[in-house]
Symmetry: C2
């Protein structure tokens, strides 16, 4: 076994990733409050935007969460007027999930919030450095074995300090 290194936490890539990831997520959560949704709602909406009519089960599987959680998420979205459960044309047990017009209006705003968050986070890096960082993170993410664009924190709301 290699002997443990003496680096402080602030010089460890894994610690920095966790720290910054938590920081961004919290910030994003705060900024989304104005739109009346949470990050996991945003993730679900994004997923729905690229393919409607799927069942709750399919959605849950794609996002790596349990069906039960999807029930709650869709309850939220439906009450918020952003999604609707229609009858599934082929399976009368299942629901076909669709976005509403309101969702199509809100989604770009949420994306703009994400853009603003990213911009604020990356202040201090120039264009080249941003591209470098993005590319490196993509390589690491690729190797981590996670499905692309699926956030492991979807199983549960992201903790928001001081809220």
């Amino acid at each position: 076994m290699p002997e443990p290194s003496n680096r402080p936490l602030g010089e460890r890539t894994n610690f920095l990733l966790s720290q910054l990831g938590f920081h961004t997520a919290s910030r994003f959560t705060e900024r989304l409050v104005g739109l009346g949704i949470q990050p996991n709602h945003f993730g679900l909406l994004m997923h729905l935007a690229q393919g409607e009519g799927r069942t709750q089960q399919q959605l849950a599987e794609a996002l790596g969460i349990h069906r039960k959680v999807m029930v709650g998420l869709l309850d939220d979205l439906e009450q918020r007027g952003l999604a609707e459960r229609r009858r599934h044309p082929a399976d009368r047990r299942a629901h076909a999930i669709h976005l509403t017009e309101a969702a199509r209006t809100l989604l770009p705003e949420a994306v703009a919030v994400a853009d603003a968050e990213e911009e604020e986070l990356l202040t201090g890096l120039d264009g080249d450095e941003r591209r470098q960082l993005l590319a490196l993170l993509q390589r690491v993410a690729e190797h981590s074995g996670h499905p692309r664009g699926v956030h492991p924190g979807m199983r549960g709301k992201i903790a928001m300090p001081g809220a």
Copy 2:
């Protein structure tokens, strides 16, 4: 307001940071189970290692958490035989927190776990790329305004999928 970009989540730096940060933290949590502690315990131990005898209040302040949480953390550590509350020499209300010998044995093992986690995470990047990534993350962290080496997730255990 700039128009929202159409990039998928997997091409957004903030999303990748959050995704990877969550991933590493979960992995670290899992790996730490063998040592009988959690990441927030680890953070506290690391902090204690570079200065014992402080009061719970001082520790809580340094780590950005509430006194009440520190009570629970120290209860855990004390029960685990890793820290002890001694009488404070100057203030009879306060406790002076010290590490035990067991902690001094365990801490390097925990650091080794962190090292192993980092190594696994960064497989796929060569030495130069690792240095680049670390430097970029440090710059971003510097600008984020967080105290160095303090994890915002200390206020609460990091969620561990599937546990």
